[in-house]
Symmetry: C2
Subunit: 324 residues, 2 copies
């Protein structure tokens, strides 16, 4: 990892370490919120300190009672310009919370509004450890290790150096299937996604940002555990599902949903995270790496759809075109 | 309120009052989870004690680190038989948490598994104060008042006696429009819902239980604040939205989403909670009553769709028909 990233992360982690943290808030919008939610998932499972995810504008308007001087607020925006998130950073800071901005633009309004900045490189040829996933996971496991030291987290932090290889290998291994998926599903007007645990947020991101935003395909990210309590009645032979079979404790929820969906729909695609390549990652750390890798694999499914629908992922009809 | 309900609620509230509560968990599935989430919303906004919502199976599998002897776990299942929620009650109890079951069946497995039981009457001609909303809101505001006494909560508890009239009046006032809505939208294959704050959960419930489960209409409950960060690109002249314009601090989020949706879609239906009848409710308490009333109003929109699609809300293809 480049020194500037190491320094930024160290500063932020040290600030957290020096406090008596009462709670964590993860605040962002859309895909950025979904990315942050992976951190919320791990913190909530491994730490005895509460954490909560908010979409930025709701955070500011609801003004949660727990927000204050002993809060850590982690905010994220790719460009660092998302107005609601910039506002949320100012708001959190005015309440005395420690604020950490995650963004690719160190000079952005978000990074200027927050007390601590953790910036990542983007499409500049950098190694993945200096990219959005490498930097964010380093921050999260740095915080975990600071608040509740564990040799496991030390190993995660070291093995994150394999991300570049893991991304490349897994992209290569899944490319053909993702391309084929795009061909098979290019006429679909609606595609449901499903997942649980840390992977629910990948499903949410795929639904909101890739299917709805970039491909204009109707969608809903269903939690695998919620599927049987309402949504599953929509299942039929011609209803498409893209389901993440996650790693970690909630895998049985995904398995149950997949078993059902495959019985009644002919259009079920399963992305099995346990079948990915984890070279260089210790067996007991796999569940921490799965969410980091799943994103780049899923992205290829969107590329496949873009290719075969002739609808590039870069096309928008509202964003960048008007005020809203 | 009937004495048995008063006694059950008092016992549960006293148990919470006697503890040093570290956190609240709201645990259920589907529509029951969405109902509980209203409590989570109010607690999180008004108390300096963290709370969190879980779908039952994820709660058990993730095993959040914060769960323990100082936790209060509120669980809900209409029939009290939802296996995942019964399991969650046993799990929470095994961890030493105080468990409170909310159900219509006092003899159900859920009520037997939990330490405290708060049961409500259902379709037996009882007044709404003894029904699911009256009893649950009495529990939540009883807890709020026990943990952080406030004359405001006293007034909410007293004015909940108006629920029956509020339900009847508002159902009457919105019946014609809901019926007409069903006629206008009977051919729609997909209907998006939207909301924020306490009302997001109403949108979720309407999407999962009424549209997808009962009417087999595709849907996704979009958070009004998230709409602009992905989902809004799906908006087009022929894409239907049913949007709850909520009361309370996040109303501006709904207004922004409505303004946008109405500009680009010809099929936007707005249910404005501020326009409902609040006779007997103090001005400053309206935002606590809106979520209680919105559910019965929205239900009529589903009735309208059922009437005009000829698809009764009671029809299922999987539930009650097979093991899954």
């Amino acid at each position: 990892m480049k020194t500037e990233h190491v320094n930024q992360i160290t500063e932020a982690v040290n600030a957290v370490k020096a406090m008596d943290v009462k709670n964590f808030y993860f605040v962002a919008c859309g895909g950025s919120m979904a990315s942050l939610a992976t951190g919320d998932y791990f913190l909530n499972r491994e730490l005895d300190i509460p954490s909560r995810v908010y979409t930025s504008n709701e955070f500011v308007h609801v003004d949660p009672k727990g927000l204050g001087e002993n809060s850590v607020v982690i905010l994220r925006s790719h460009s660092g310009t998302t107005p609601e998130t910039v506002e949320a950073a100012k708001f959190a800071r005015s309440k005395g919370a420690v604020t950490i901005a995650v963004s690719m633009e160190v000079e952005s309004p978000l990074c200027q509004a927050a007390e601590y900045v953790v910036h990542y490189n983007y499409k500049d040829g950098s190694d993945a450890i200096d990219g959005e996933t490498g930097v964010y996971f380093s921050l999260i496991f740095g915080i975990l290790n600071a608040v509740s030291p564990n040799e496991k987290y030390d190993r995660v932090l070291k093995q994150l150096s394999h991300l570049e290889n893991l991304f490349e290998t897994n992209k290569k291994n899944t490319f053909d299937r993702a391309f084929e998926y795009g061909k098979e599903n290019k006429r679909e007007k609606i595609i449901y996604t499903m997942g649980s645990g840390a992977y629910y947020h990948q499903a949410y991101s795929f639904t909101s940002c890739l299917l709805m935003e970039m491909l204009w395909i109707h969608s809903n990210a269903i939690h695998s555990g919620e599927f049987f309590h309402g949504p599953f009645e929509i299942t039929d032979f011609d209803v498409p599902f893209l389901i993440i079979k996650g790693d970690g404790p909630t895998r049985p929820l995904d398995e149950r949903a997949i078993n059902f969906a495959e019985k009644f729909s002919n259009k079920v695609e399963v992305v099995d995270v346990a079948e990915l390549d984890y070279t260089g990652v210790d067996e007991d750390l796999r569940e921490y790496f799965g969410p980091a890798i799943a994103g780049v694999v899923l992205r290829q499914y969107a590329d496949g759809l873009a290719e075969h629908t002739g609808h590039p992922l870069s096309v928008r009809r509202y964003m960048w075109k008007m005020e809203y």
